[in-house]
């Protein structure tokens, strides 16, 4: 059989369906009936030309199972690199599912039938040995934002029944209290956070205007349009520059973030309206 160089329009049109199917498989949450999963695992062994395992050892999360594997099979044996990822193998299992069903490569993908069926059934991470298989429950929670990034504002973005959890804000993994107790975030914590992405999340949760205010900075420039503040972060080229303006109608002060290189308050305010500073002098303002 020759090399497949491109998809036919019909095959191409079906890709979207496989994407949706395998995305749903990958995002499955539990619990699952253990006997169903254990039967699926026996099939995985069979596809690999092996006898089914004699023993199935369950744990509440991949973290817990890794600990058990370390204990029973030797330190380091539970390393995630030694695991099979079940539903979390959706990205490549989906590819071969498409190859099998739409490209006529049934024989070539035969060995993956067991894993594919197991992922469909909702198998989570497992560590296979000849006589025993160590297996995790599925997560109980997987939460995402509209763009599909891990994200949850009031709980874990990934959670397991044993309490293992991952906390994330629009795809950035953060410490638990950044999500659950944003009141714990302080100026010092934001300032000293070494990871720029985590710091951005903290700054968003804390409020960048509040941050600038609580730092107690002197404005780097001031004129009739407002006050310009600037502060740098360690190990980050991204400087926080904000202009403080006063709403002429309500008298309320507020801050707007502007590009880092702004030099004067007027230049900054003009930038917020996308006009050159020399053209920003309202004849009337309310």
């Amino acid at each position: 059989m020759g090399m497949i160089e491109e998809l036919t329009p019909e095959q191409d049109a079906k890709l979207e369906g496989y994407y949706g199917k395998w995305l749903a498989i990958g995002l499955q949450t539990g619990p699952r009936d253990h006997s169903v999963i254990e039967r699926a695992l026996a099939d995985v062994y069979k596809c690999g030309g092996l006898k089914p395992p004699k023993r199935f050892v369950w744990g509440g999360s991949p973290v817990e199972v890794a600990r058990i594997v370390d204990k029973e099979c030797g330190a380091g044996a539970g390393d995630p690199g030694h695991a099979c990822y079940g539903t979390h193998d959706a990205s490549w299992l989906g590819f071969y599912d498409f190859m099998r069903a739409e490209m006529g490569l049934a024989e070539e993908t035969k060995e993956l039938e067991g894993l594919t069926e197991a992922a469909l059934a909702g198998i989570s991470w497992f560590w296979p040995y000849e006589d025993v298989v160590y297996i995790s429950e599925l997560p109980t929670v997987v939460a995402q934002d509209q763009e599909g990034r891990l994200h949850a504002e009031t709980g874990p973005a990934i959670g397991y029944s044993d309490g293992t959890a991952v906390w994330a804000w629009h795809g950035v993994q953060v410490p638990e209290d950044v999500i659950m107790h944003p009141e714990n975030i302080t100026v010092e914590r934001v300032r000293d956070e070494a990871n720029a992405e985590v710091r951005r999340v903290m700054l968003e949760r804390f409020g960048q205007d509040r941050y600038i205010q609580e730092l107690g900075l002197r404005p780097v420039h001031e004129d009739e349009t407002g006050q310009l503040f600037r502060t740098e972060f360690k190990n980050d080229p991204e400087v926080l520059t904000m202009v403080r303006v006063v709403d002429t109608s309500t008298g309320r002060p507020y801050f707007l973030r502007v590009p880092p290189d702004m030099q004067t308050a007027k230049e900054a305010v003009a930038w917020t309206f996308d006009v050159p500073p020399q053209e920003y002098s309202p004849r009337a303002e309310s």
Partner: protein, 121 residues
Amino acid sequence: MGRKAKGTKGSEDRRPYRQGDVLLVPCDAGMEHGVEVKRDPVRGLVLAVGEATGHMHHIQAPVDAAALFDISPDKLDRLLEVRMPVTLYHDEHAPIGIDPGSYVVRRQREYTPQGLRTVED
């Protein structure tokens, strides 16, 4: 930046008007007009709406006094053509009288490290 505001036909004053998060920048009357924006039966010409509050920057004026056009594909920038003096209203801001002329309606924006964000009041 980059977009340059030129002189107007209606007024010698080239300075912009500002009402909260909206700036009316005098521009060349010959600027391409794009699609005319329909009038709201109650508010008249709605220049901009705050997504959170629903507050509008709007002009109530006879049909031949002013018209509004979409000039950018993302509908953020609009062209306001004022033929007779009109008044710009907003629930939280004082009314402002606008002289005849052509104006680009510019929304206030904010910088984010990832990109830009429109400010809405």
